[in-house]
């Protein structure tokens, strides 16, 4: 091989070459009879400008040297890779096991990364300079519970913020995309609609693909223009990518709009959930809120997200102060909050400062879990490579004896593992594309994703992870083989001589077992939490409850329309009740968990009002609501069928908070005015949850739907208690009956089980994914244990043979191998339990009703690991027992 060129060599060689030239010329001239001085002068004059030539030669030779170095490097790399590939092909079983193990570890990580990347790292696509954007958050004490930062605002607050930032930032407001019906006729489709101010696109720096975005003029609070901008995805999916789409009409929730522009490809808003259609804030159809107050002055319409672009010279704390001041002095109609605290956050919602959802917190932990799986996989690879390196001791020793440098040997071994990791990375990306999609739909099913999980960031993550894993996994065996003692290795053949190598392998098995146990403990804890949370009473029946709503097509019903529907429904009650599968029927103003209704002021008659008067939350229900919904009446009775005296039922939380240690039955609550007629309390019900499984008990009142003491305007839904086993068939029957009765209405059915699903999801996810990853980890560890034990058995075939020859029966050999294998694993299990205890606090906040140090979970995980290890040892133990004594003795 050519010696590498270095710069100083270049100069030295040139000088040496020229010196030889002058020496030879002078010598020749002297031989012809010149004096040495004359000869030197003549040689110099024949040569020309020596210094100029020297520097010219230097230039040329530097170029040559550089080119040669590059070529050498490429050549060496190519050689290394060909060599590595050839040597991996020689042991296909080991290579494939390594590749699959690594692919599993890398795939899990790439899939997890693809998810965490969109959740926490990647700013929304196409947005100009996303780092300058700020979301506004406000600290709120919500319903007396613990306070937290919220990013939802009412319009008046927005107006105040906009005014406060006038001149130093352009603010924008939008509503997170919500599903809405699109199109007219019998079969309307649906799309995710986001209403946004005209400034929205400007602040984000988005230009339309074609057409235009709406102007400030079209977004006036009263009288905005019915125009929409559609996303590129929606345009392609639903409009076939037709460029003539501009000026076309589109009907959203029964209201016609005109399409004026198409957003650029890949832009789908600033949330995880992709928006299909944007429309001016002022024209959003089907707005929630009170009839009497317009949405822009109603503090209850408060789902608006505010963001703005921070100009380069603006100081964030100063802007934060200005926004805080603005929100403390919100004008008429706004939510007065003299203690408002404002924080500016990133445009990426999950970065906070608000609480992130349980799902995302589980996702964060799973990121760590994925890394553990990769570490276990790497340990496996190291183990397999070590075993392989031992089998190749002879080959390596011969190479060393033949003079291969140790550094080159190291490079060769690392090249092999990097090559393995590279192949694994390609396989992993395939797995990640599939697993990433699966994870997404599993973790956040309500989100419609704008992009596929395979992003260049995921690709580079997988590549870097593969290289790091490859180098690390290759380093161990490589460093080990550097210590190879030539003579011993040549003599010992493929049998292992030193014991420190097997100690390293035991260490790896211990590590794997420990980490797997930790994950299994996590799985056990989550499974336990899930069952605890399911066991938690929510107050109403979950699995056999369904709700049906009937709304006329074409926007919100008028009061007269609604009343007509309500009357008709009441008449239908007996027919509904006799449908097969229906057990109970009743009516309710708003189904549990779908929202909160506030009454106006109210005045409870009480001796003392111990705490703050509870919020006037109420639900209007029909007589058999309690029987149908499963909310139990603790005292008293339900509303009478007939309209007589006004009555009210309060829940236990309300009774406890207004009438502690007293019986509220027979007392009065006066609505709206202190001197209003007495509404008598006739019953106390169990406290049902309002919105979350784990929440402060909420005081709540139930009012008779047919005899409302309030002038509010309740919409109503049908509550049906059905036979759980025939849920879908029964709902089909109900729908059929109602469609026949109300041909012009939209009939929606909701089941309580589905509504409760998001409540349980963080625990469901934790339980399933921890179990899945734990199982994968245990599987990989089992492969590790198997390969390590079967390798050890192979090494000791001789010993077992001799023992067999000396009369040891096969059972004692099996017991010995099993014992040795499980003993190593037992150390790992102990370490894993310590590790699980040490890291328990990381998941403690996600658990429910079980401590992170639950002894049962620890014991279960440990036992499981030992059993798995035992199973992994059986086959090698069996092989050891069948060692042939004759062969062993002959080999001696």
């Amino acid at each position: 091989m050519r010696l590498p060129f270095f710069r100083r060599d270049v100069q030295r060689e040139i000088d040496e070459e020229l010196r030889f030239h002058f020496d030879a010329r002078i010598e020749e001239l002297v031989a012809q009879g010149m004096t040495p001085d004359d000869a030197r002068a003549q040689a110099l004059s024949e040569f020309g400008d020596v210094n100029q030539v020297r520097s010219r030669l230097r230039e040329i030779d530097d170029r040559v040297a550089r080119r040669r170095q590059r070529a050498d490097l490429l050549d060496v790399l190519r050689q290394d890779f060909t060599h590595a590939a050839r040597s991996l092909r020689r042991t296909p079983g080991v290579s494939i096991t390594i590749i699959l193990t690594l692919a599993l570890g890398l795939g899990v990580n790439a899939a997890m990364f693809s998810l965490l990347d969109v959740l926490f790292l990647r700013p929304p696509a196409l947005v100009a300079k996303p780092a300058e954007l700020r979301r506004v958050w406000r600290y709120l004490n919500f319903r007396g519970g613990e306070g937290q930062f919220w990013s939802g605002f009412d319009y008046t607050s927005y107006a105040a913020v906009r005014q406060a930032l006038e001149g130093s930032a352009v603010t924008a407001l939008y509503r997170v995309p919500t599903k809405m019906s699109v199109g007219a006729g019998d079969n309307p489709g649906s799309a995710k609609i986001s209403s946004a101010t005209a400034s929205y696109f400007r602040v984000l720096g988005i230009k339309p693909a074609f057409g235009r975005f709406y102007s400030e003029d079209e977004d006036r609070v009263e009288g905005g223009a019915p125009v929409v901008v559609i996303s590129d995805g929606y345009w392609r999916r639903e409009m076939g990518g037709d460029r003539a789409v501009l000026d076309r009409k589109i009907v959203l929730s029964g209201v016609p709009y005109t399409i004026i522009g198409v957003a650029p490809a890949r832009f789908s808003g600033v949330d995880l959930d992709a928006a299909d259609i944007w429309l001016p804030l002022s024209t959003l159809p089907g707005r929630a809120g009170d009839r009497n107050t317009p949405w822009y002055r109603n503090p209850a319409v408060n789902g608006f997200q505010i963001f703005f672009r921070l100009l380069p010279d603006a100081r964030a704390p100063e802007v934060e102060q200005r926004v805080t001041a603005a929100l403390r002095h919100v004008g008429e109609g706004g939510r007065q909050d003299t203690a408002a605290v404002v924080k500016l956050g990133s445009i990426i919602l999950a970065r906070g400062p608000g609480n992130i959802s349980g799902e995302m917190r589980v996702a964060e932990r799973l990121g760590g879990v994925a890394i553990i799986v990769l570490v276990i996989a790497c340990a496996n690879v190291v183990n397999l490579l070590l075993a392989r390196a031992v089998r190749r001791r002879r080959e390596i020793a011969v190479r060393l004896a033949l003079g291969i440098s140790r550094s080159r040997l190291l490079r060769l071994l690392i090249t092999e593992s990097v090559l393995l990791a590279g192949i694994a990375a390609v396989a992993a990306l395939g797995a990640a594309a599939w697993g990433g999609t699966l994870l997404r739909t599993f973790l956040l099913p309500q989100v419609s994703w704008a992009e596929t999980p395979l992003h260049w960031r995921v690709l580079s993550f997988a590549l870097i992870a593969a290289i790091v894993a490859g180098v690390l996994a290759g380093l161990f065996p490589a460093v080990q083989s550097r210590a190879t003692d030539l003579t011993n290795a040549l003599k010992a053949g493929s049998r292992e001589s030193g014991s420190h190598r097997s100690r390293l392998r035991s260490m790896l098995v211990i590590c794997q077992a420990a980490l797997s146990v930790t994950l299994l403990v996590g799985a056990a804890l989550f499974v336990r939490s899930l069952s605890n949370i399911h066991g938690l009473g929510v107050g109403f029946s979950v699995n056999d409850l369904a709700f049906i709503s009937v709304t006329p097509r074409g926007g919100e019903p008028t009061k007269i329309q609604a009343a007509a529907i309500a009357d008709r429904l009441e008449q239908l009650e007996p027919r509904l009740a006799t449908l097969p599968g229906v057990e109970r029927v009743s009516f309710v103003s708003m189904r549990p968990k779908s929202g909160i209704q506030f009454a106006g002021p109210y005045y409870p008659e009480a001796d003392t009002v111990v705490r703050r008067k509870p919020a006037p939350i109420f639900t209007a229900v029909s007589t058999n609501f309690f029987a149908a919904s499963g909310i139990k009446l603790i005292h008293g009775h339900t509303f009478p069928e007939s309209r007589g005296q006004l009555t009210v039922i309060v829940n236990q939380a309300m009774a406890d908070s207004v009438w502690p240690n007293q019986d509220p039955i027979g007392r009065c609550i006066r609505f709206e005015k202190p001197d209003a007629p007495c509404v008598t309390i006739i019953g106390i019900s169990e406290t049902a949850i309002l919105s979350h499984v784990r929440e402060q008990p909420s005081p709540q009142m139930y009012l008779p739907l047919n005899n409302m003491p309030l002038s509010v305007w309740p919409s109503r839904e049908i509550v049906v208690r059905v036979n759980q086993t025939r849920l879908n068939a029964t709902l089909g029957n109900v729908r059929a009956l109602l469609s026949a009765e109300f041909p012009n209405a939209i009939i929606q059915t909701n089941t309580m089980a589905k509504a409760m699903e998001p409540e349980y999801r963080p625990w469901t996810l934790g339980a399933t994914l921890f179990s899945l990853f734990g199982a994968l980890a245990a599987l990989v560890a089992a492969i590790g244990i198997y390969s390590s034990v079967s390798y050890a058995v192979n090494q000791r075939t001789h010993e077992f043979g001799v023992r067999a020859a000396l009369g040891a029966d096969s059972r004692s050999i099996v017991t010995q191998v099993l014992g040795e294998g499980t003993r190593t694993v037992a150390i790992g299990v102990a370490a894993g339990i310590v590790l699980a205890i040490a890291t328990g606090r990381l998941i403690a906040s996600l658990l429910y009703g079980v401590s992170a140090w639950n002894p049962f979970a620890l014991a279960l995980a440990g036992t499981a690991m030992i059993v798995i290890a035992g199973l992994a040892c059986i086959a090698p133990a069996w092989r050891a027992a069948r060692s042939d004594p004759v062969a062993a003795l002959r080999a001696e």
Binding site: E13, E16, E17, L18, F20, H21, D23, A24, R25, E27, E28, A43, E46, F47, G48, D49, V50, Q52, V53, R56, L57, I60, D61, R63, V64
Partner: protein, 117 residues
Amino acid sequence: MTRELDLLQGTLDVLVLRALSWGPMHGYAVARFIRQGSTGTFKVLDGALYTSLHRMEERGWVESEWGISETKKRAKFYRLTAGGRRALRAETDSWNDYVAAVGRVMTAAPEPAVETA
């Protein structure tokens, strides 16, 4: 760039390639070969000769290797590569064409100028 100009600049290269076509030699031997061959008709600066050698090595026409000279000293020997041999043939042909062309010009009589009415 035109062929003729190349040839003039490449004259020295041809001479060096020609010298090396006899076998590997060090720079000084190449210089001696040219000096003796030209018998003083033209002079080549030795510095230019070394520049030519190194440039041709960069171009891949010659290879160098350190060896021992006839005077038992370390010297850098140059050897023609396959590419160098090809170049020599091509350059020799062009050189012969050039010489022949110059020769024709030198021996030709001028055509009489034709008067036009």
